[in-house]
Assembly symmetry: D2
Homo-oligomer: 467 residues x 4
């Protein structure tokens, strides 16, 4: 699998960054990274990413005069990549001060961190942190004299958690949290339910635009990419079962069908099941097809969907992988038994061999395939980053009282704005409503274009069904 | 265009049914229809429809013991077709008494009405009613000694309106209204807003299952069917512009792309626009492509989308039609000018001819193409009818207080139930959650499967965007 | 099904055209048609067809000066429709004299025949000829004093057969035969094998362009159209088996898959079978799926593909139809047994009912579905007519000795020319080779573009396989 | 790009294999490879390949008794990979003796060569041969005392060329040549034209099955794979121009359209152009779209299709690659000018930068993308290898006189046999003709199923078009 951080100089010495003297060319040392000398190389990576993130660049331009984040002190904890760097430099251009740590101990691109540090950002992150390093870096972001954050940008909730645990008083000055991950959002809703959420939080994970791109569109491409890079399998004529027909499953099914695979679907929800039927897929139970399929893909968010019993019955050479959020969709643990032999044949590819010689091909040990074995296009990351920036602007500028101590979705109009900023990439031309039409439809010419009542009346009065 | 009522004996005498003596073979005369002698033919039509409405037949079977509508007195006003007859006889099998009128003066299948009357139903409807007949029939349904409705099933709101106007006291005994049409639902929401809705109402138009079938899946097929039956056009290689990329537009685009057309899309909403891009359609403004396209299709719900200026610039032979709900999407009125010649070349097909000889091909005079020029598959009607039946059961059996004087959507679980009743048609096998999985997901094994909070948190806290 | 001749005035008197006085407005009476008064209406039909046959119109323009058919005396026997009229008037514009009869006793559009007669053509044809009329008309075309044909344009071989039988000496002056139908071509090859073909013949049925349009592209659309017009079936989720994966089968499969059907394929040829697999279809034997499918479509050219045994095992409501050339693909005769009841439910639609109540839906009594139940787009007919015109020009102008007494295919370059004349319809822009590129590829800049050796070396040296 | 030989131990010493002592565990030393110790690892690779080459394994089984290659002495020159090893061991199982060299100095999998040598095959090949090594290895295969080949299996024609040049007398005993590559086949036809081909040769490159897989099906997948691995580009919404609509172009277009790209096509041949139109692609000249497209793909076989003028006008970030056979489709040489900067950003990916900062992304320096940047599925190689084996059997066993000194295509029946051997992979079930059907169609029940005359009459009598 291609490694986004593969350009990192692997001959770096082994000294921990925490033990090194850190100083950039201007004498600033308020950061902790692997190697400041990689800054030039990192800068080039950032410049390339800028070309594919036109929405953030447009935000920079439009905000040149007004600086909507003037006074904002943003503490962030995300993957530190070229795309994040474009986001951080955009926030800075909009007026914010930023301090940043990594949300994952492996995902930092060292040369990008170097470029950021050289550019004056207080970055605390390197590829291959220890658990201890991880929390140390986060702490260095928030625990600093004479500077206190008033905005949080989090990915996974660890930063938020740390502040809750160590510096709860800090929340007095914090205007809001922007959280991007499923896990982090889940934590926030739990805090909210428990009455412990003490600032407004924006759930950007569930914005329509992001969801569509992260799930349907991205998976449509990455299922093919992930399978090819790991197994070189030919799709034409292959029999595939896709477990789950949500957005991820829909994307996988559409792509494989288009490549000439014969696709079966399993579902628990009759509405999604009926969609699968109408879209041309045989709806089956897993045990009906498990002996005959060449590829098994889970996209359920559920656990133990592919259990040992099914693994035992798969045919020789069957490929098994997971595209869902949960790492427990395939019961990989059940394969760790003495009678089965594991052979690592490539990075992220294991052959699990039965006593009779049958082997199944397990990808990424059942973890999310498209994170492990394919890359996420910059365009998708651009949508996420733009959404994050707009959410920060919204929370930071919201009039007193607009947002309570609760979890909010991005206002539909801003969701639409993120979409509109990405249309020029496709040379796409939006039609504008005439005054007469806007009046007829009862819409503002600038949106939001889907009446708010549309969806929420769709469900808010729903009651439980009769017993 | 195929006429749903084509089997009607056209040699019927011209006497108005209101002036005829009405009596079925058992001596019952509480109905008013065209010709009771057509009952046998109508019965056969109903039997054929039963074969394609397995969900209602299943409801009949399951309810054999319990009679969930025992005591229900349903007054209905819908299209009177073989499919409606299957619904009425199902309601009857579930314990209800029914009286019925037509919601449209042209749509009654006389032989089906005859079969219903012969079977003991009080039906008041015939093909070709006058305006006066229309209201007379509705009145005969409700204004009857010794019988008062306690449930309303309406399509368009005329029946509801009539009771509001003439017999407001009747609402005291009415447990609820089930309304299927966009127009009728709109009227109900207006009543609700005005505080005048005095019983609970169920909006079955917006149930997920119905929406998907009425829009995406049905339009995917009917756009091809409607165009072929009227124009015999070859789709391959044709340039088409589809205005609007909602569910209807998505269905049209997918079908035409699959048949080898080159499809352009116009949109006002940037989120739908981005979807169009990702789905492989060039997003344009209408004026960019109007000179070059062979077919123009409107699916916007908006008015004056195709105005005279665009019609003037279309090329010779361009086909223009409307798939949207609104009949004003194409500004047909603007074509009624002296310099243009209209030629009716087939049923539902007009050539409008410019002074220079250019002709455009206008279908159904800009009215909804798939209602005018193709047929609606029984399967789609089955979903609607099943939803109506379940909504009646729900409202009739709901414990005191569950429903207020408001408009409700079908509970998600019942929406799922409608879907599940239609899966056997596709020999589709649903997977059941294990106890462990249900617990992990926090779901009841029998649904609803999409957590209620999912969608409504998606928008209910949305506020307006910053200025 | 739409009837191409539906505009014909059905109130015509019943006198046989042979007994009427025939005279057009200029006093000419050398024709025999139904009713000269319909000429104006027929002229409008021809004008509409002209708009969709741009290639013939282009030929007229290009040939204005040269008249490549000057001196040609063409006797023709084809369907007499608006499209044929455009062809005949094109031949006339190119310098030819024409006399014409119908190749089918039902297919003549009387009003078009009238317009042609009014325009001075010697046409002998009407809708509803008797067998005797049929041959009488053909004879009137050729057996005329002072005029002898030197070119034959035939569709089915009846005209050619008549001349062979009655006027063999006529072949001395005939420069060639152009034949369009499979049957007619087959007859010519038989004559050739028997050494009895006494003039060159051009097989236009097998030109690449015509084949692709008649089969793949036309069937892709007409399978959907034919099924919808007869049964209103919803395609989404339906299980369909397509017997045969040649060009016709490929078109049917692609269309149904695109509409959301689940398609199975049967094949006898392993190469086509492998293509079906790679294109994403399960390759099965008919008996494996016959109990579960909703629709059965034959496209084999073979006989007895769907035999009584399979019909017995189909499920209730199964639709059965034939898209192949042979009318014996479905063994319809086997259904004419006393225990089965036939019910004609619509034009071209029979329900065949088993003693247990099971009914199958048989379309067009097993005859070719797309001829019986859908229309052929003018664009497809345009390709055929253009090919015929070019073949006539080629044979008429060929230098002595280029063509022997044999059956020829249209030269590839002319096949390409037909294609190129139809590109403007799609606003398609062909790239031209540079001199350097043409030299590199060893091609003439004007084509033919596929080296002749390419295909014929592909098979001509093939020998039989080892035992 | 994934390197098929990546498992090779890179720490091997630098001694040339020619200078090493070569001896396997049985004391045999008639081979020359990199390192015999890698044999075990190579054996495992071969075993994995065997699982995906069921057709060859089936051949081994069926031939167990008869040994159709008993007495055959095959000298081969192909890529030496696990798949080739399966072929060689199959030939051996069928009775042949084999000596083998590599047809490419880089493509040898050293560990596979080791396994073959250990297994007793006389293999002369290693990864990274010099030009001199290359010919030395070939010579060692043929120039051996007491053994003279009677069959040649070649890929590229170098082996054949060497024997022609050095050992022409050897052809006296040679029964035939089997050649797989375009280049090698071209050379053979030239020899044949020049009257210098002194034995029969079988062109397996142009067998129907191989062509379909190498071109349409393989390219459909590899265009996506090649682009993703090199650029991580998102396909959805991208504008792409594909130059050439032959089999390769058709595969590329279908795949990209399915992934949501907007695809334009250029063509020189009007028939292919019309196909592109009917398949739903805008047919343009390159200059019409060159400014707007995101990706340019050449599939023409022509030269200088994308010239400097077009490269100059592409937009920033445009990706340019070649899927055609010719390496000169993109005029890469024209980019080697001083004002342009080249940056190698990844393996096989160059940024070419204009003075104004515009950069285009050139893949594989314009060489064939799918060979350089994606892998060929074993299934495709299986078809090739099976075809080669059958061709050897055919030529070796052909009765005297069946084949002259000419180039032949694989008999259609054997082509069908190759296809049939691969059907079990898809669990595909072929239908068998009944005696009655076979008679009706005039076919042998065992094939060939497409009558021989079908294609060759299609073109063999074609003459040139009139001037």
């Amino acid at each position: 699998c291609t490694d986004a951080a593969s350009y990192t100089d692997s001959s770096d010495d082994e000294t921990s960054p925490r033990d090194k003297q850190q100083k950039n060319s201007k004498g600033n040392g308020d950061f902790c990274i692997k190697n400041i000398k990689q800054a030039d190389f990192g800068r080039r990576e950032i410049e390339i990413a800028e070309q594919e993130m036109p929405a953030l660049m447009a935000l920079r331009k439009r905000a040149q005069g007004e600086k909507p984040l003037a006074g904002a002190k943003v503490v962030g904890c995300t993957h530190i990549t070229a795309q994040t760097a474009v986001l951080m430099e955009t926030l800075s251009a909009l007026g914010a001060q930023c301090r940043w740590a990594a949300c994952n101990i492996y995902s930092t691109q060292n040369e990008v961190a170097a470029a950021l540090a050289e550019g004056g950002f207080s970055v605390f992150a390197w590829k291959g942190e220890s658990e201890d390093d991880f929390w140390w870096c986060i702490d260095r972001c928030v625990n600093v004299e004479g500077w206190q954050p008033n905005m949080i940008l989090d990915d996974g909730g660890d930063l938020t958690h740390w502040i809750y645990k160590k510096y709860p008083n800090m929340f007095k000055k914090i205007k809001g949290i922007v959280e991007e991950s499923v896990t982090g959002v889940h934590r926030l809703y739990q805090l909210s339910k428990a009455g412990k959420l003490c600032v407004p939080a924006m759930n950007v994970n569930d914005s329509v635009t992001k969801q569509k791109f992260d799930n349907l569109y991205c998976c449509r491409e990455s299922i093919l990419d992930g399978l090819k890079r790991t197994t070189d399998v030919m799709f034409g004529g292959k029999q595939v079962v896709v477990c789950g027909y949500g957005e991820v499953g829909k994307g996988c099914c559409a792509a494989l069908k288009a490549m000439g695979s014969i696709v079966y679907v399993t579902e628990i929800d009759p509405i999604c099941a009926l969609q699968a039927c109408m879209d041309g897929f045989r709806l089956v139970k897993l045990n009906e097809v498990i002996r005959q399929v060449d590829i098994v893909i889970t996209c359920t968010g559920n656990k133990n969907v592919v259990v040992r019993e099914y693994l035992d019955r798969m045919k020789n050479g069957c490929i098994v992988c997971n595209m869902g959020h949960s790492n427990t969709e395939i019961d990989v643990a059940s394969l760790r038994t003495p009678e089965l032999t594991w052979e690592r044949v490539r990075s992220q590819v294991d052959h699990v061999i039965w006593p009779d010689g049958k082997r199944i091909v397990l990808l990424a040990e059942g973890r999310l395939l498209n994170l492990s074995c394919s890359t996420v296009p910059t365009f998708v990351l651009s949508i996420t980053a733009t959404t994050q920036a707009l959410a920060l602007i919204e929370l930071y500028n919201a009039p007193e009282g607009r947002y309570k101590q609760d979890v909010y979705l991005l206002p539909k109009k801003m969701d639409e704005y993120v979409a509109s900023l990405h249309l020029p990439t496709f040379d796409a031309h939006l039609t504008e409503l005439s005054d007469e039409q806007a009046k007829y439809l009862g819409l503002n010419k600038n949106g939001p274009f889907k009446p708010n009542y549309y969806r929420y009346e769709n469900t808010s009065k729903t009651t439980s069904a009769p017993a």
